[in-house]
C-alpha cells in the first residue's frame, strides 16, 4: 500500500457531489464511514453564504448492533490556503428516529467543499469525505403575505416618523397644558412637509440600494461555463465537437482550476434527443486542447439534441455544461472514440412498464413497488438484471461502477448522473482525499492524479486501498448478482425518463424507463 493509499485508508471515503447535475442541487450519498454504513443527504441552501442541512442515516447492519457515540460533521473548503477549519459540529439525533442525525453546515464561500462525516462508536470510528458544491442557484421571491406585512410596517413607520416630527415641533417645547399657537402649528406642518420629502428621498435611495444588491446577486447566480456544440463530417463519420468558449475559462488569468479525469475521462457527455427523449448516448470526448473536446458520433437519428457534459475541476468542483446541437444527417459507420462510449435509440412512447428487454436478450426490471414517487422523498431506484434464462445476470464494472443512471425530466429542467454511491464524482473524492497542504500551485494535484491513474493502468484505480463505496469496483467482475440501487430523491414533479446503464459480457446495455413524479403534499 502506498503512503497516499494509506492516507486514504485512514480517512474512509464518503463521496457525494451535488453539482454535477442540472436542476438538482441536493447531494445524496450512500457509503461507509469506517465500520458504519451511512446514507448522507446535504440539502443545498441555494444561497451563498448559507446554511446547508445535512442528515446522516446509519444503515443496517450496525457494527456490533450498537448505535455510535456521536456523529460529527465538518465542511472544509477545498483551497489549502484558506482551509483552516473550526472544530466539527456534533450532529443531533432526529427525535423519533434513532438512526438519523442532522446538523447545519455553514458554507460561507462559493466553491467546492468536502464535508467530513465522522462516526464514533464502540466499533471504532471512521470519517467519510462528501464533496459538496456551494453555489447560489436561486433568488428567493418575497411572498405576498410577508410583502404585505412589510409594506404595512413600512407605511406605518414612514407615517409615524413624519407625525413624530410634527409633534416634536408643535408641542414638545410647550409647558404641560399649554396649547400650541397658530405659529407653532404652521411650523409643524412645514416640518412635516420637509420630513416627508427627506424621508421619501431616503426611501427612494433605499429602494435603489436594494435593487442594486438584487441585481448584483442575480448576476452572481451560478451558471455553468458556456459551451458550444457542433457536428461535422469526417471520412464518412460524424464528429461532435464541444468547445468551452466561456470567457471565464478562456481568459489566461482565469480563476478556474484545471480539469481532472473522472473514471479516466476528462469529460462525460450525454446526448438526449429533444422532446421525444427516444435517443440517448453516453460518450467520452477527447481533449484537443484545454478548450475543445471531440468525439465520434454514433449513428443517432436526426433531430435536435440536448447536451450535458460532466467535468470535474481540480478543486473538486464538478459542474455540468449544458448545450444543444442539431444532427441533420444520420451517421454512417461509427468507430467509438472510447471503449466506454454507448448509445441507444427507440422508446419514443412513454411507458409505465417495469421490465425492459436489453440489447443482449437479458431483462432489466425496475423494482419500483406500488408506492408513488414523490418529490424530495427517497425514490425506489432499485434495478435487477436477469439473463435470458431468468437468473440474475453477472454484471461487470462499467467505468468502475456497478451501473450508471441518467435521469432527465421531459422538459430538460432536470438532468442527473447517478451511481450506486449516489450523486458521486469519484474524481472529486480523489481530489479531496489526495490533497496535501503543499498543493497550492494549480495543476499540481491534477497532474499527480493523472500520473497515478496512468501508473495503475486502470481507470478509477487511484482510490485503491480506500474503504469501499457501494457499486464502486476496480475489478472486472461484480460480487453482487445483477442488482443495483441508487440513493436519490427527485427535486421537481413531472414526467421523467431514466436511462440505466450496466455492462455484461463486455457489452454496455441501456434500459429505458419512464416515471411520473408527484408533487409533495
Amino acid at each position: 500500500m502506498t503512503g497516499r493509499a494509506g492516507r486514504l485508508a485512514a480517512v474512509g471515503i464518503i463521496a457525494l457531489i451535488a453539482s454535477a447535475h442540472v436542476g438538482s442541487p441536493d447531494t445524496y450519498f450512500e457509503g461507509a464511514a469506517g465500520p458504519y454504513p451511512v446514507r448522507v443527504i446535504v440539502r443545498s441552501p441555494g444561497v451563498v453564504p448559507g446554511l446547508a442541512q445535512i442528515t446522516v442515516r446509519l444503515l443496517s447492519p450496525l457494527p456490533q448492533g450498537t448505535l455510535p457515540r456521536r456523529v460529527l460533521v465538518l465542511p472544509v473548503y477545498w483551497d489549502p490556503q484558506t482551509a483552516a477549519p473550526p472544530p466539527p459540529d456534533v450532529a443531533q439525533h432526529v427525535p423519533g428516529d434513532s438512526t438519523l442525525y442532522s446538523a447545519a453546515l455553514w458554507l460561507m464561500r462559493g466553491g467546492s467543499y468536502s464535508v467530513q462525516v465522522t462516526v464514533e462508536g464502540a466499533a471504532g470510528s471512521g470519517t467519510a469525505l462528501v464533496p459538496v458544491m456551494a453555489v447560489a442557484t436561486r433568488r428567493l421571491a418575497l411572498d405576498k403575505a410577508l410583502g404585505a406585512a412589510l409594506l404595512g410596517l413600512g407605511v406605518f413607520l414612514f407615517a409615524g416618523a413624519v407625525t413624530l416630527i410634527g409633534a416634536a415641533v408643535r408641542e414638545s417645547g410647550l409647558e404641560p397644558g399649554a396649547v400650541p399657537d397658530q405659529r407653532r402649528r404652521r411650523r409643524s406642518r412645514v416640518a412635516m412637509g420637509v420630513a416627508t420629502v427627506v424621508f421619501g428621498l431616503a426611501l427612494v435611495g433605499g429602494r435603489r440600494w436594494w435593487n442594486g444588491v438584487d441585481a448584483e446577486y442575480r448576476s452572481g447566480l451560478f451558471q455553468p461555463l458556456h459551451a458550444t456544440a457542433t457536428v461535422r463530417s469526417a471520412g464518412g463519420a460524424q464528429v461532435l465537437r464541444l468547445a468551452i468558449d466561456d470567457t471565464s475559462w478562456t481568459n489566461p488569468k482565469r480563476q478556474w482550476t484545471p480539469l481532472v479525469p473522472d473514471h479516466g475521462h476528462l469529460m462525460h457527455l450525454f446526448l438526449v434527443r429533444d422532446s421525444t427523449l427516444d435517443a440517448f448516448a453516453h460518450l467520452h470526448p477527447l481533449p484537443l486542447d484545454s478548450i475543445t473536446f471531440e468525439t465520434s458520433l454514433p449513428p443517432l437519428p436526426r433531430g435536435r439534441y440536448r447536451i450535458y457534459a460532466d467535468i470535474v475541476h481540480e478543486s473538486g468542483f464538478a459542474p455540468t455544461l449544458v448545450s444543444s446541437v442539431d444532427i441533420s444527417s444520420a451517421g454512417g459507420s461509427w468507430r467509438p472514440s472510447d471503449r466506454d462510449d454507448a448509445w441507444t435509440t427507440g422508446n419514443a412512447q412513454r411507458g409505465t412498464g417495469n421490465a425492459v428487454a436489453l440489447q443482449d436478450g437479458s431483462t432489466m426490471t425496475w423494482e419500483r413497488g406500488d408506492t408513488p414517487i414523490v418529490v424530495d422523498q427517497e425514490a425506489p431506484l432499485r434495478f435487477v438484471v436477469t439473463d435470458p434464462t431468468g437468473r440474475p445476470a453477472s454484471l461487470e464494472a462499467y467505468m468502475g461502477m456497478a451501473g450508471h443512471l441518467m435521469l432527465t425530466r421531459d422538459d430538460g429542467a432536470v438532468f442527473v448522473h447517478l451511481h450506486p454511491a449516489g450523486t458521486v464524482s469519484l474524481a472529486a473524492v480523489e481530489t479531496f482525499a489526495l490533497r496535501q497542504p503543499g498543493d497550492t500551485v494549480r495543476g499540481l494535484l491534477g497532474a499527480r492524479l493523472t500520473a497515478m491513474e496512468k501508473r495503475s493502468g486502470e481507470r478509477g484505480a487511484v482510490l485503491d486501498g480506500a474503504p469501499p463505496m457501494p457499486g464502486v469496483h476496480r475489478g472486472e467482475s461484480l460480487p453482487a448478482p445483477g442488482a443495483l440501487s441508487f440513493p436519490y430523491a427527485f427535486p421537481k414533479p413531472g414526467p421523467y425518463r431514466l436511462f440505466v446503464q450496466v455492462k455484461r459480457a463486455g457489452r454496455i446495455l441501456t434500459g429505458v424507463f419512464d416515471a411520473e413524479v408527484r408533487p409533495a403534499r
Binding site: 444561497v47 451563498v48 453564504p49 448559507g50 446554511l51 465542511p75 472544509v76 473548503y77 484558506t82 482551509a83 483552516a84 477549519p85 473550526p86 472544530p87 459540529d89 455553514w106 460561507m108 447560489a136 433568488r139 428567493l140 418575497l142 410577508l146 406585512a149 412589510l150 410596517l153 413600512g154 406605518f156 413607520l157 409615524g160 416618523a161 407625525t163 413624530l164 409633534a167 416634536a168 408643535r170 408641542e171 414638545s172 417645547g173 410647550l174 409647558e175 404641560p176 397644558g177 433605499g206 440600494w209 436594494w210 444588491v213 438584487d214 446577486y217
Partner: protein, 381 residues
C-alpha cells in the same frame, strides 16, 4: 407612577424612564456583544444572547412606552395627558413615541432580515437594508430614552437636576457609543490613529452629541460626563467579555482565539469633551456661531494631540494586558506584525490640510449640535 407624580417628585425616577434607560443600555450592550460574537465565534442564530440583549431592548422599550401611552390616553388624568404630545389621537411623552417607533422598526427588521438572509445569503455585508432598519430602531430607542430623561430634567426642580442631568449624560453616552460602533472601521483601532480619515470621521461625528448635551444638560460638566459614560460602557464590556471562554466555529480559523474578543480600547473623548464643557460654560446661549467655531477647532486640536500619542501607547507591549484589552483580533485574521503598526500611513497620512478639513467638519458638527441642544434644552414633554 404617573407623569404628574413624576413631576412633583423629581428626585425619583419614574418606572418608564428607568425601563427605557435599561432598554437603551441593553440594546447597545447587545450590539457590542454581537460584534465580539462575530469576531470570536463567527456563526450565530437569532437566539444568541447578544441578539437577545438587542431585542430585549426593543421589547422592553416597546412594552413600557406602549403601556405608558395607552394608560395616559385611556386612563390618564388631565395633567398626565397635558404632559404628552398627540400622536394619532393618543397622548404620551415625545421620548416614549420615539422609542415606540424604534421598537416597531426593530420588529419590522426581524422578518425582513430573515428573508434577506434566505434570499441573498447570510450577512454578505454588515451594511444591508434590514440591518439599517434595525440600527434605526435601536437608535430610536436610545434617542427616545435621551428625550425622555431630557424632558424630565427640564421639568425637574433643583433637587432632581443632578440625577436627571446624569441620566441625560448617560443617554448621550449611549449615543456616542453608537457612533463609535458605526465608525468601527475608521476610528476604532489605534492602528488608524495616524490617518487623516480618523480625524475627519471623529471631527464630523462626536462634537454633534457632545456639544448638544453640554448645552442641553444642566450638569456643569455634561460633555465630560457623556464621554465618561461612553468610556465606562466600553471598559466594562472589554473587561467582562474577555473573561468568557469561546472558540471559533466558522472557517477559516487563522487565529484560534480562546475567549471572547474584546472590543478595541475606547477613544479618550473625555479630554476634548472637557474642553468643550469649558467653552460652553464660557459662552452661553446667543454666541452659538462663535461657540461652534471655537468648539469644533478645539475638539479636533485636543482630540488629535490626545489620540495621536495615546494610540502610540496602545500599540506598545505595555497595553497588551487585561486592562487595556488590546491586541485581540478576529478568529479569521492572519495575525502578523501589522497588528503593532499604524495602518495606511503612506496612503492617508495626517497633514495640516486634512486636520483643517477635520476641523471644518467639527465646526459644522458643533453648530448642528448646538441647534439640537437648544431644542432639547426647551423640551418639556
Amino acid at each position: 407612577m404617573s407623569v404628574a407624580v413624576a413631576e412633583r417628585s423629581t428626585a425619583r425616577i419614574p418606572w418608564y424612564v428607568g425601563a427605557l434607560v435599561i432598554a437603551a443600555t441593553s440594546a447597545v450592550v447587545g450590539v457590542i456583544w454581537d460584534i465580539s460574537w462575530h469576531r470570536t465565534i463567527g456563526r450565530d442564530t437569532f437566539w444568541t444572547p447578544a441578539h437577545m440583549a438587542i431585542y430585549l431592548g426593543g421589547a422592553l422599550a416597546g412594552a413600557a412606552c406602549g403601556w405608558l401611552v395607552l394608560q395616559t390616553t385611556l386612563r390618564g388624568t388631565p395633567e398626565e395627558k397635558a404632559a404628552g404630545v398627540t400622536f394619532w389621537g393618543f397622548r404620551g411623552p415625545l421620548g416614549a413615541w420615539v422609542a415606540i417607533w424604534g421598537a416597531i422598526a426593530m420588529l419590522a427588521s426581524g422578518p425582513f432580515d430573515n428573508w434577506w438572509h434566505n434570499a441573498y445569503g447570510l450577512d454578505v455585508k454588515v451594511l444591508s437594508p434590514p440591518h439599517v432598519i434595525l440600527a434605526l430602531g435601536f437608535t430610536g430607542i436610545q434617542l427616545g430614552a435621551l428625550f425622555l430623561v431630557q424632558s424630565l430634567q427640564n421639568r425637574a426642580g433643583e433637587s432632581g437636576r443632578r440625577v436627571t442631568g446624569l441620566l441625560v449624560a448617560f443617554g448621550a453616552g449611549i449615543l456616542v457609543q453608537n457612533i463609535a460602533i458605526m465608525g468601527i472601521e475608521q476610528i476604532a483601532f489605534p492602528n488608524s490613529a495616524h490617518n487623516g480619515l480618523y480625524y475627519k470621521v471623529a471631527g464630523a461625528a462626536f462634537p454633534l452629541v457632545l456639544i448638544a448635551v453640554a448645552r442641553a444638560s444642566r450638569l456643569k460638566w455634561a460633555a465630560t460626563a457623556t464621554a465618561t459614560a461612553y468610556l465606562a460602557i466600553s471598559l466594562v464590556m472589554i473587561w467582562v467579555l474577555q473573561l468568557f471562554p469561546a472558540t471559533p466555529k466558522l472557517a477559516p480559523v487563522f487565529n484560534p482565539v480562546t475567549h471572547m474578543v474584546a472590543p478595541p480600547f475606547p477613544l479618550l473623548l473625555v479630554v476634548p469633551a472637557a474642553a468643550l464643557d469649558i467653552l460652553v460654560q464660557r459662552w452661553g446661549p446667543g454666541r452659538d456661531w462663535r461657540l461652534a467655531l471655537f468648539g469644533g477647532v478645539t475638539f479636533v486640536a485636543v482630540f488629535f494631540v490626545t489620540q495621536w500619542f495615546f494610540a502610540e501607547f496602545l500599540l506598545t507591549p505595555y497595553a497588551r494586558n487585561f486592562w487595556f484589552g488590546v491586541d485581540q483580533w478576529d478568529y479569521s485574521s492572519r495575525v502578523r506584525e501589522w497588528r503593532y503598526q499604524f495602518w495606511r500611513i503612506r496612503d492617508d497620512p495626517v497633514t495640516p490640510a486634512k486636520l483643517g478639513i477635520a476641523a471644518l467638519l467639527a465646526v459644522c458638527s458643533a453648530r448642528i449640535g448646538l441647534w439640537w441642544g437648544n431644542w432639547m434644552a426647551g423640551l418639556r414633554r
